[in-house]
């Protein structure tokens, strides 16, 4: 009897604990719920388009709202080309920034320089877009693009009028936005290389560059691949900056100077204007493609970066 009252008292005492545990658990449950709901909602919204075209939706290149013909190919290619071009430009720059911050910068400079990189990451995407449209695009069309056409104009990539609006500018703006992101993770990774190993290499007479190449980069290799993949994830889904400068066209062109489009820019442009069900469903299907792509890439990147970037990723 006494034991029973005791256990009942215990239980009554534990009640607030259980309630608290349940309440916080509810908070935690929202996260998987949201991820699952996003997937389910996009799939449901895309049903009409997916039933109509099935997997061929992915590689159909028509996108014609008037005749109700939709395919993801041009937006998909635009997304991938812009993201990979941006990465190609951003990786060397970001590594350079990270090497400078960790190996070269005197102490008085390292703090402010790090701050600048963080602020660069914090500037909203739409600001880069507006700057890209009103400042960078005219600059490129007057200086950089004519220069490229004079020197490399025989390549199919640099054909057409250098208007400044198109894939070329979009990739450049994206690169600028991805640089601080990759650089911040790379900097954190570089500072975790044990100093003894670096000092050992220096003791053998290695120059700074040789230390970076032979010790720092191999030591952080996996994390760096993860950082690049996270950067890719960001570049694939970037919306506003790209929408401003890419020209928003569904025509595929080998020339980087031509107007193009990405999945995100198509969504931003057409979603509010889509009146018929098929168009809306096709846009939802595009969203689903983007979600699936970024989900896979981010999952891979997170697995590779591990816990090292939990803080850097939020900025």
């Amino acid at each position: 009897m006494a034991a029973r009252t005791g256990s009942r008292m215990m239980r009554r005492k534990q009640l607030p604990d259980q309630a608290f545990r349940l309440a916080t658990g509810f908070g935690a449950a929202t996260i998987p719920a949201v991820v699952a709901a996003v997937g389910a909602m996009l799939t449901a919204g895309a049903t009409t388009a997916l039933l109509r075209w099935g997997p061929t939706f992915l590689w159909r290149s028509q996108w014609d709202a008037v005749h109700g013909e939709f395919g993801a190919w041009s937006a998909l290619v635009g997304t991938l080309v812009s993201a990979f071009l941006a990465l190609a430009l951003a990786i060397p720059l970001a590594l350079g920034v990270a090497v400078f911050l960790t190996e070269l910068a005197p102490r008085w400079l390292a703090g402010p320089a790090s701050l600048a990189v963080e602020l660069m990451a914090a500037v909203p995407s739409i600001i880069y877009g507006m700057w890209g449209l009103f400042v960078l695009a005219p600059f490129l069309s007057e200086h950089a693009q004519p220069l490229l056409q004079r020197t490399l104009g025989w390549l199919p990539f640099f054909q057409g009028a250098p208007t400044g609006i198109g894939m070329f500018t979009a990739a450049l703006v994206l690169a600028l936005m991805v640089v601080p992101y990759i650089a911040a993770i790379a900097r954190d990774l570089f500072t975790m290389v044990p100093p003894q190993v670096k000092e050992a290499a220096m003791g053998l007479g290695a120059t700074r560059w040789e230390v970076v190449r032979a010790v720092v980069l191999p030591h952080t290799r996996i994390g760096l691949v993860g950082a690049v993949i996270l950067g890719l994830g960001r570049a694939l889904g970037e919306t506003m900056a790209v929408t401003f400068v890419i020209g928003n066209s569904h025509r595929l062109s080998p020339s980087l100077f031509a107007a193009s489009g990405t999945i995100a820019s198509t969504l931003a442009n057409e979603f509010t204007e889509a009146t018929d069900e098929l168009h809306l469903s096709a846009l939802m299907a595009l969203g689903l493609v983007l979600f699936a792509m970024t989900f896979a890439i981010l999952a891979l990147g997170r697995l590779l970066v591990g816990r090292t970037s939990a803080q850097g990723g939020g900025a």
């Binding site: 919204g45 701050l115 500037v123 990147g301």
Partner: protein
Amino acid sequence: MTQIATRLASDPRAQRARVRRVLLNRAMMVAAAAALILAVATLCWVLGTLIARGGGALSWRLLTELPNPPGIPGGGLAHAIAGTLLLTGAALCLGVPTGIAAGIWLAEFGQGSRIAYAVRFLADVLMGVPSIVIGVFVYGLLVAPLGSFSGLAGAVALALLMLPIVTRTTEEMLRAVPVTLREAALACGCPPWIMILRVSVRAALPGILTGVLLAIARVGGETAPLLFTSLNTPYWSFDPLAPIGTLNVTLFNYAMSPYRDWQQLAWAAALCITLAVLALTIAARTLRRKRP
């Protein structure tokens, strides 16, 4: 040993190799410095443009008046500033408590369990899901069923963007609280939930606040998820079920418009948004620095 050294020093081939290595090192280090200079120069270029073009339009009118129709100079963005503040505030009320609860669960209850690992992982992934996808999701969740673009939908979209950021920072900060503090509280007979709220969370509070500030900064600059949730309007709007004007979407619409006056307002909006976001980022950074 010395013989080898002298022979190396006198061997012209070895010397050439050394010169090449030193030169390569110089070149690479100069390249690294150039990369940083390029990055900082871009930042300055962007900020300089904003100040040069938006600074002139900053005025009292910007904060108090509604925008004029195109062709009539002047006008302000009072409704959009209010809208942005309202939406961000509503998103805070939805996203921060949920995020903090999730962070507490991960750090205090879930810890190393498999479910906690999965939640943590999904939070990290959710952090990187393109914000426009969140916009599409909320459109399907709230706008289509309710039949109207609404401020509520915009706030939910922003809250979903805040959620993983707040969750992960809260968890990280709670984990940094020493175990001895918790044990001391428990040993005094304190029930676990009071221990968590009054010892762990209190100790981690500055860090959690950092996460909240970062989340506001991130959300304050977001436009993509608002395009088809809260839409936009050039008037005052306080109805949560009606479209609401925000600085970001107004900026997008006006910058893309052919009217000079509207573009001028867009630059002013751009300057306001950037200043607010950068100030929040710097505040979060200083708070993080203070953490013991």
